[in-house]
Point group: C2
Chain length 498, copies 2
């Protein structure tokens, strides 16, 4: 595994970087409307789709989803398909004690004091409803729960395809069935405002090709009841993410779909939305430098962290709680840089017996982004890890598996019970990739976008999902984005149609 | 010192909280101009005054400063008057080795990886020029340097009045002398934009009374060369600071002038400026809960920290490096909360012999926000500190003074040399107050405000000082704001008149 491949892997993720086009809002006065809809939804990920379905169920009509890309689903379609909810059927089956309070408490801890407790509570209390919406639409999940980093109990469902597409596809089908109008290659280009600065309509460009900003036809769409902006994060907007963190250059890998460039969020700031927590950009601590984007390793390692160790290849020793929250782990990995400041990806070591329980193990090995070793000696030789300390580390860790107490990093060993680390091993390399933007526009628990001068809702403007900011604070827990997107999308529809 | 007084102290700081008025930019097309200026400067603090003086020196003409409050100087006039610069006459006199590189390195460390190195370097390289501008205008400084938290060498000048007014007053006089037009009670109300979204003019309200948003007369001012926004931070805007950090309620003390409400910054976001680091709001670790605002204790403790200890009154023990950067210290103090989560202000203990070297010691004692004790026993009894551990702590600390090595917290003991802690003592109580907003609009090292969609400068729009974001990263070092404000103000003038 040379440095060349490493860099190749890093570059692949951010090859296609777009500069967002100039969106500009303007007064609606005197505009000739091309069309009228009741509810305009910008973006077709979890939040947009859930908003449309909920609006239809509440009797809404004339609802159109605008998606700038050719393919529906946005970044939601390519994430891990992990869905956290308290008090679910699987928790009942597995006998797990959980509650919205417990889920909120876990999230507040990761948020490091600045998360929005009200919104977190609202989401946790309605997460099961949202999960039910996906089940009703035909989404399929693994028959077991996972316990992701920072969660105090197993509460995470995962789609059988280990991918968000396992949710967006059924929801999309449901939208079509319910008669939601779906328009792809249609880019939001700005708001049309009434005289008080509220939203009266939107400008969209139909026949848009990503990166080609002046093609297609501009249309002015009058909006009867409300616009729901559900356009996701800005992890692929290099300028904007570097403004917040100069280290997040184009060289740094990114798990997001290439359309995650944030221009609708920027346009909301231009009509007075409050920018919140823009500086808090999350890197995924489960990603691999050996493949582009989210890839196979992310799902693989999310599943395997509870019963694996991550070691520094220079020492053979652990350096973190493998199921701490994402920020804690990403920071710990980034501290492994070598003396010249170059990435020094740690190794995640798993018993093959355990890793093969999840379908991603096969793919990781097939595509050469993971390796299988029959002995610790072979593993150590391949990666140049000092053998004696590594052997001792494994032995020590197995002691923690036995006692249930991790004396090194205080890892919760409940999910590791009986799962001793033993040959043959599977190994992947880890290095953080830009994954999620905690920042965005401020909303209230009714999904209303607030005006920065008055603190009151901007008329007819709603937002849901990653485009909003402040809900998670400094660090979002894994599998808490899908419930947030869906619940807040549903909430926007309810607020509009109440 | 009862809890009642404590809360009274906390509340005093934020008694006068204003909701910023609705500022709204609009197209300039068709506007009837009331007046034309070459350069419009919004705000009369360090940045605005330095910009005006520099513009005049470069041959600029028709320059007007707009100040919304009745009094000039803004928040700058009431801060500590601390000015960091490398390679100054006082450093030469004291034989201190320093350089812009060293100053930048100190700041990057406090910025925790996300500071803007280019701007920090630009400021450090021009800091002496800015200091000279204040000297030329007649500012007077103590004849010794201070070493503030996070600085690796003493490089901080302080005005003889221990207050920023010792700089703003001379600069203001200089502005008048140079023929700058000064307009107080004149509030910026929005930009007037050309067809490309650049700035063509501004709206101001003359005869404005703070908090009374509809009085006075609206004027449309055409701007020939540029607008420099130098309006400071938003620490007094409770909604906005709580959007970033829900714990910063109106109950939390604030050192800022009441006009620090941030509406010009919000308006820049509305014309497309990039919001950067809004989540990073700094609390001052040298403030006292026993008085409102910046008060006397802040200056007192900034001066005395190098040769003092801060102890938890419940244990009598130190809990931090007393000259770590501000965030490290504020976080350490906030962790002293009692079991119910109530503030538990630590005690700062200083030898009276040392504290009386600075003029604030007298005031702190006179106004009852500091106490003098003849013995450690009297001190311990007054505050209910366990005596034995406190005595041992003082003895241990005096060992560090002797050896020059702090084995507890790694404090740099250079400035404590020979300054043993001994009776009589002076004591103040510490609790952080909201002090400085690292967040604001993104600028480049030319002080140009960048457009969030294009990454290019917004035509004729410049910003300098606390209203800008990203320069300092997570935590700004003390005494680095005045050089930044002044250098970037001067830089804006140079860019405009180049």
């Amino acid at each position: 595994m040379g440095r060349r491949n490493f860099i190749k892997g890093m570059a692949a993720a951010s090859a296609a970087v777009a500069t967002p086009a100039l969106a500009l809002s303007e007064p609606a006065k005197g505009i000739k409307w091309d069309k009228q809809v009741d509810i305009a939804i910008i973006g077709s990920g979890f939040a947009g789709l859930a908003a449309a379905i909920e609006a239809k169920r509440l009797g809404g009509n004339n609802i159109e989803i605008f998606e700038k890309m050719a393919v529906y689903g946005g970044n939601s379609a390519i994430n891990g398909g992990l869905f956290a909810a308290p008090n679910t059927p699987l928790q009942a089956k597995e006998g797990r004690k959980d509650s919205p309070d417990t889920m909120v408490a876990d999230q507040l801890k990761a948020g490091r004091g600045i998360a929005d407790e009200k919104i977190l509570r609202h989401v946790a209390e309605h997460a099961m409803e949202a999960l039910q919406m996906t089940l009703d639409a035909g989404a399929e999940y693994h028959p077991y729960l996972q316990q992701l980093g920072g969660h105090s109990v197993p509460r995470t469902y995962q789609t059988t395809v280990s991918c968000g597409g396992g949710i967006t596809q059924p929801l999309l089908k449901e939208c079509k069935k319910l008669g939601v109008t779906l328009s792809n290659r249609t880019k939001f280009e700005g708001f049309l405002l009434d005289e008080q600065g509220g939203v009266e309509g939107i400008k969209v460009r139909r026949g848009y090709y990503f990166g080609k900003e002046d093609g297609g036809n501009l249309e002015h769409i009058k909006v009867g009841k409300g616009v729901i902006v559900a356009t996701g994060g800005f992890a692929q907007n290099i300028n904007l993410r570097m403004a917040q963190d100069p280290t997040l250059t184009s060289e740094v890998g990114c798990t997001n779909a290439k359309g995650a460039t944030g221009e609708a969020m920027l346009e909301m700031f231009r009509v007075g939305a409050v920018p919140v927590h823009m500086a808090h950009i999350q890197s995924g601590p489960w990603a691999s430098p050996d493949e582009g984007g989210f890839g196979y390793v992310s799902n693989y390692s999310i599943y395997n962290f509870p019963h694996s160790i991550a070691v520094d290849r220079r020492t053979g020793l652990r350096f973190m709680d493998e199921i701490a929250d994402r920020k804690t782990r990403a920071d710990a990995q980034l501290e492994r840089r070598d003396e010249q400041g170059n990435p020094n990806p740690p190794l995640m070591i798993t018993s093959y017996k355990q890793s093969k329980q999840h379908p991603t193990a096969k793919k990781v090995l097939k595509y050469g982004v993971g390796w299988k070793f029959d002995s610790v000696e072979a593993l150590a030789e391949h990666f140049g890890v000092p053998l004696a300390p590594l052997k001792q580390q494994i032995e020590e860790y197995n002691g923690y598996v036995k006692t249930g107490v991790d004396k090194q990093f205080g890892k919760n060993m409940a999910k590791a019970k009986g799962k001793y680390l033993e040959a043959p091993f599977t190994v992947v390399r880890l290095w953080p990739k830009v994954h999620y933007c905690q920042g965005g526009v401020q909303i209230n628990p009714r999904a209303e976008v607030l005006n920065s001068m008055t603190g009151k809702p901007i008329s007819k403007l709603f937002a849901a999902g990653e485009v909003t900011g402040g809900t998670h604070g400094v660090s979002r827990l894994g599998s808490c984005s899908i419930p947030e997107c869906m619940v807040m999308g549903m909430t926007a529809a309810r607020t509009i149609l109440a």
